[in-house]
Homo-oligomer: 194 residues x 2
Amino acid sequence: MARTQGSRADVTGPLIRDQARRLFARQGYAAVSMRQIASAVGVQAGALYAYTPDKQALLLDLLESHMRNLLAAWTDIPGDPLARLEHFVRFHIDTSLDHPDAVFLSYMELRNLTPQNFARIADLRSRYEAALETILRDGMAAGVMRIDDPRLATMALIAMLTGVTNWYREGGRLDRRRIGDIYWGLVRGAVGAD
Amino acid sequence: MARTQGSRADVTGPLIRDQARRLFARQGYAAVSMRQIASAVGVQAGALYAYTPDKQALLLDLLESHMRNLLAAWTDIPGDPLARLEHFVRFHIDTSLDHPDAVFLSYMELRNLTPQNFARIADLRSRYEAALETILRDGMAAGVMRIDDPRLATMALIAMLTGVTNWYREGGRLDRRRIGDIYWGLVRGAVGAD
DNA sequence: GTCTATAATCGGATAGAC
DNA sequence: GTCTATCCGATTATAGAC
């Protein structure tokens, strides 16, 4: 991948983020060196510092932009809490399968953030969790869901749905639509909506 | 923690494993140095190599012994598949809360194993997953569970149950018995047993 | 914006004394 | 079994040329 000299600011910036995301997800933040990222991009290590002040800022940028994209992409729908829950389940699975590396990073590399940066990401994540918890509480109030503890159910369901990234492989036995169907069946039962 | 000279082989060995497990779980394998582990134990870095040939072997030992303990501790019970499933749910949650660091490591640090070592752990894990899948299939055959895809349900349920380590804090709002009750309610619904 | 070169530190692992 | 000392390669980040 080594390149000779030349400026390509428009492509290098996104490429650094893409390769860093991919490598961090596969090997872990601490195990990836700036040289490795630079090599994957096709530049020398020193060039990375024209785009990020340091490695930590690069990780924070990846996590924060993912969480902001997630929150921006999510839109609740009006009406039946069960339909809203199905919408959330399919949204979460589709997002997780579209951006498996970003999703994986966002709950695996929190421990490598500084305390301040951790607080920023934890805040964004709690907003996303609140979206699901609201649906569950509305479903209980409407009498269409039976849930012992909506806070715990929120954590449990998100863990279950996010887990799809642990085993899903492109071109595997099940396509996305089918996976969404199966998970929705599990979730619908879990909230007592059968 | 620094100590003066002296041999304490009986305590140092277990202590190295305890501290390595704790540090690996909190910061990640790659982010923890042998010097850090030694410092937490109260010995110099060189002394660690009397107990492990290298850092990788230390990680493998932690993961493998955890998986073997898990498999040794698990015993299915005869009878009703629903009772067996409840037994599995409570076993898995209790184990996860008793050994949160080991559980976390066992599904977070697989990527830092060499391919050979990875295969060893993956084999042990698949045996554990098979225990749950068998119960689900028996429940379907007996007509007491409704499950679209038992293989996928196995992965989904284990992800959900293991997720308890992400939020549980000792002395928190809910005690273990109550957490087991709540998760069992979610699982029972998810497998269509209500 | 990118390169080359380098500073300063830290990493895993080993040797030999006690 | 543990310590001290050390080898040697890798790491993050910076400086200055182009």
